[in-house]
């Protein structure tokens, strides 16, 4: 008898689902909340989103200015490092391509900053070419504070901690600057398909 978890059967899933499931993940219907501290409450009246380049140039949008930009609806599978994945989540927001369109930069990295002090980092190219959005609507409703409302980043091809909640801006940087979880043991890049969960993965 194998002594490894004898009698464990688990919940089999159809291959149509498992094909969409990165290694070590399980699908969930609910929408768990994970964050390191209290949920910041950010009124849209004072909300701004600011892109700062490596030369210190700034481009900011108020809530109304952001909503006046072209909006996109998109549907994604999202993957949390705590192992749940959620299929076909429906979002509305502004593509990062739109926000970064006329920003002059040669920086290769983005440091993402949030209300509440959270930070995360990624190569700038992971935010471009239709790969990332600043979203404010989830499943037809305004994004709730515990899920990052009024607005969060959405970078569905990376683990969800990169999709910073309560986002307030990006700093474009020539050098990579590991953020909150990246300095606390999480992988610097975070590709779910390569199971890059922790340092060294």
């Amino acid at each position: 008898m194998s002594s490894l978890s004898p009698g464990f059967h688990g919940r089999r899933r159809s291959t149509s689902l498992t094909d969409r499931l990165p290694p070590g993940q399980y699908p969930t219907e609910s929408f768990p909340v994970l964050s390191a501290g209290p949920t910041p409450r950010v009124p849209t009246e004072t909300w701004t989103f600011t892109v700062t380049t490596e030369t210190g140039e700034e481009r900011s949008w108020t809530w109304d200015e952001m909503l006046a930009l072209p909006q996109e609806e998109s549907v994604h599978d999202i993957h949390c490092v705590t192992r749940w994945s959620k299929f076909d989540t429906r979002w509305r927001g502004v593509s990062l391509d739109t926000l970064l369109d006329d920003v002059e930069t040669t920086a290769e990295y983005a440091a993402v900053h949030s209300y509440g002090g959270y930070t995360t980092n990624m190569p700038l190219e992971d935010l471009l070419d239709g790969k990332a959005w600043l979203v404010h609507t989830y499943d037809g409703y305004p994004l709730s504070p515990e899920h990052g409302g009024p607005a969060r980043l959405l970078v569905p091809h990376l683990y969800l901690w990169k999709s910073a909640k309560w986002v307030r801006g990006l700093r474009l940087t020539p050098d990579d600057e590991p953020g909150f979880w990246e300095t606390a043991g999480y992988h610097n890049y975070g590709d779910p398909w390569r199971e890059q969960r922790h340092w060294g993965d």
């Binding site: 194998s2 002594s3 490894l4 978890s5 004898p6 009698g7 464990f8 059967h9 688990g10 919940r11 089999r12 070590g24 399980y26 609910s30 768990p32 909340v33 994970l34 964050s35 390191a36 501290g37 209290p38 949920t39 910041p40 705590t82 192992r83 749940w84 509440g116 002090g117 515990e146 909150f180 979880w181 606390a184 043991g185 922790h198 060294g200 993965d201």
Partner: protein, 236 residues
């Protein structure tokens, strides 16, 4: 170096409540951990199918011994198996320690308030035990919210008088006879006396189901506690 999956043998299981269990595992090669950290547990079925979930470590590092506290969720894939079916003597795989943020280190000297909802008490118990083990004199308070007396975890250990720890139980459904506080969910009034004793620089750790953590963290910030001093861990 990626963290390896290690084989860990179940060497003991004890009831905490009618449903929750403490599991003791022996994990050869375990590198040690900090109070508050968790592990990933991976189960493998005969045909190779695998499922993994996170579980907090309920006790400070002690050689290759790992203590978990599992509250089975109805219809859950992993937790009912761990709580009741995994035979003593059999093995699972573990990976860790994980999480370098929701931790308490013996060097920390500031007063601490721990706020636990149900099974959220597990990593906080590791902190209580680490604090005791280090003979730390920093002030520690624990507020443990449970449905009724029968749902109290670590009952005996937390019931023992301890000058270095101030414990308060809150009952949400059924208060025991003689309680002055009627049964009900955590309120600002429950936190007020604890916050009075916590200096502004004190750290608050909140752990439990998402709804509980959201409520507790909101109450704490509304009471003026600096959000930067509040660490949360949500069990999903």
């Amino acid at each position: 170096m990626p963290l390896p999956w290690r084989t860990a043998r179940l060497v003991g299981r004890a009831d905490e409540t009618a449903t929750a269990r403490t599991l003791v595992l022996d994990a050869p090669g375990w590198p040690g951990h900090l109070a508050g950290q968790h592990v990933d547990i991976r189960l493998t079925a005969d045909d190779g199918y695998q499922a993994a979930r996170s579980y907090s470590l309920g006790a400070p590092a002690d050689g290759t011994r790992l203590e978990l506290g599992v509250e089975p969720v109805t219809g859950g894939e992993v937790s009912p198996y761990l709580a009741d079916d995994l035979p003593v003597g059999a093995s699972v795989e573990v990976r860790g320690p994980l999480g370098n943020w929701f931790v308490w280190r013996p060097e920390q000297e500031e007063p601490v308030l721990l706020v636990a909802g149900g099974s959220g008490v597990v990593p906080l118990m590791a902190m209580v035990r680490a604090h005791r083990q280090a003979a730390s004199t920093s002030a520690f308070q624990l507020i443990h919210s449970v449905r009724g007396e029968a749902d109290l975890w670590y009952r005996e250990e937390l019931g023992r008088p301890d000058p270095a720890l101030d414990v308060r139980f809150l009952y949400t459904r059924k208060a025991p006879p003689g309680s002055t506080r009627p049964a009900g969910r955590l309120t600002a009034a429950d936190l007020e006396p604890a916050l009075k004793r916590l200096t502004p620089a004190g750290t608050v750790y909140v752990c439990g189901p998402t709804g509980f953590v959201e409520t507790a963290a909101d109450l704490l910030t509304s009471a003026g506690q600096d959000p930067a001093t509040i660490r949360t861990e949500r069990f999903g």
